[in-house]
Symmetry: none
Subunit: 214 residues, 2 copies
DNA sequence: CCTCACACGTGATGC
DNA sequence: TGCATCACGTGTGAG
């Protein structure tokens, strides 16, 4: 493409020098050189319409482009593209920073419940300390249950537990989470979101199912 | 604008018929018609250079635009802009979905530490139960400190605390978080990420500064 | 009056 | 060969 341009420029220069040498009759020269017959007195130029469409198309694209770019410094064809360029750069930056922020957020979100403990060590730690997984559910009053969960520490496991119970319409109250020795120790009150009563053994089964899944 | 086009066409046709009448010397005619002096046999057109720059500028902008767009279907001027348009749309979509995802993430992330407690009640709860804010820091060994923090429960406050300390190169170990009676009770060990030693009173000041900010 | 930006028609060129 | 694209020079209107 570039060399094509170069060729173009060269051709042009050549033509230009020719023109300057030949003075005012260069056009005739060019015209006579080929293309249309000398005797034809009607108008010529075969690709007039085609070229017109091309220009029209290009202009419309340019307008579409302009309509997409929020900040516009000028109506110039060149500045339209320029603004588009800066806008694209801005968008790219934004995408990058956003995704970065999101990853960072994911990381910290998981750090909260894990505090950066290597999860490979977790199982070993549990063994070493002789800690067994445990799920306990007791009734507090007619609406609330008290639960105690000891599980192996895994990435995001606490968050997943909360989310899963949320999906079953159960919310946590006065939650206590301790992370130590490769485990999560969770104690909390829970209750149904809409005041639903929670059955003890059903809740326990639900908890165990969830824990097995996460 | 359109009528300008029309005018152009008219003028052009007029010129054209003239040209056809005069045959090969139409260009001279046009030249003579006005604009540049009749006797000047050198080339005319004052804004030739200017126009050339304009074109050059536009082309360069177009190339710059093209270099920014990753997917290119064609080298065409029109398709360059077209690709840029689709790319911009794609970027905009991506930004939107990303920010949306991020907000959603923030929401769930805050649910974790809050378990959906209304924060307006938090301050009242603290008062009612006579609980005072507290920050305590003690040395465990040469690398680790033990901290205890009691603060009013606020949306995302625990996450912000973790993040802030992370920024100061401090990480949490064996963290315990209890949410009850409108407060967060946080107890945890902390240590410097690179094995840096942490001074007790400096850490305490840092903690208090952070808590005041969040 | 002059500068700037534009649309136009046109020859040349690649496929 | 025709078809599509291009750069070019130019006239013209707006500021």
């Amino acid at each position: 493409m570039e060399y094509e341009d170069e060729d173009w420029l060269c051709v042009d220069m050549e033509e230009f020098s020719l023109a300057t040498e030949n003075g005012s009759n260069r056009r005739q020269r060019m015209g006579r050189k080929r293309n249309y017959d000398d005797e034809n007195r009607e108008y010529k130029s075969k690709n007039l319409e085609t070229e017109r469409r091309r220009r029209e198309k290009l202009s419309s694209r340019l307008l579409m482009l302009r309509s997409l770019v929020p900040i516009i410094t000028n109506m110039n064809k060149a500045t339209i593209i320029e603004d588009a360029i800066t806008y694209i750069k801005k968008l790219q930056d934004k995408v990058q920073s956003l995704s970065q922020e999101l990853h960072q957020m994911e990381a910290t979100s998981e750090e909260i419940v894990e505090t950066k403990v290597d999860e490979i060590d977790a199982a070993e730690d549990m063994k070493k300390w002789g800690i067994e997984p445990e799920v306990k559910v007791e009734q507090i009053d007619e609406n609330k249950l008290w639960i105690k969960i000891i599980i192996e520490k895994k990435r995001g496991r606490f968050r997943k537990l909360i989310e899963a119970l949320n999906n079953f319409g159960i919310e946590f109250i006065d939650t206590n989470l301790t992370t130590t020795k490769g485990t999560f120790l969770i104690t909390s009150c829970i209750q149904g979101k809409d005041g639903d009563r929670l059955a003890v053994h059903q809740t326990k089964n639900l908890l165990q199912d969830i824990i097995n899944d996460i």
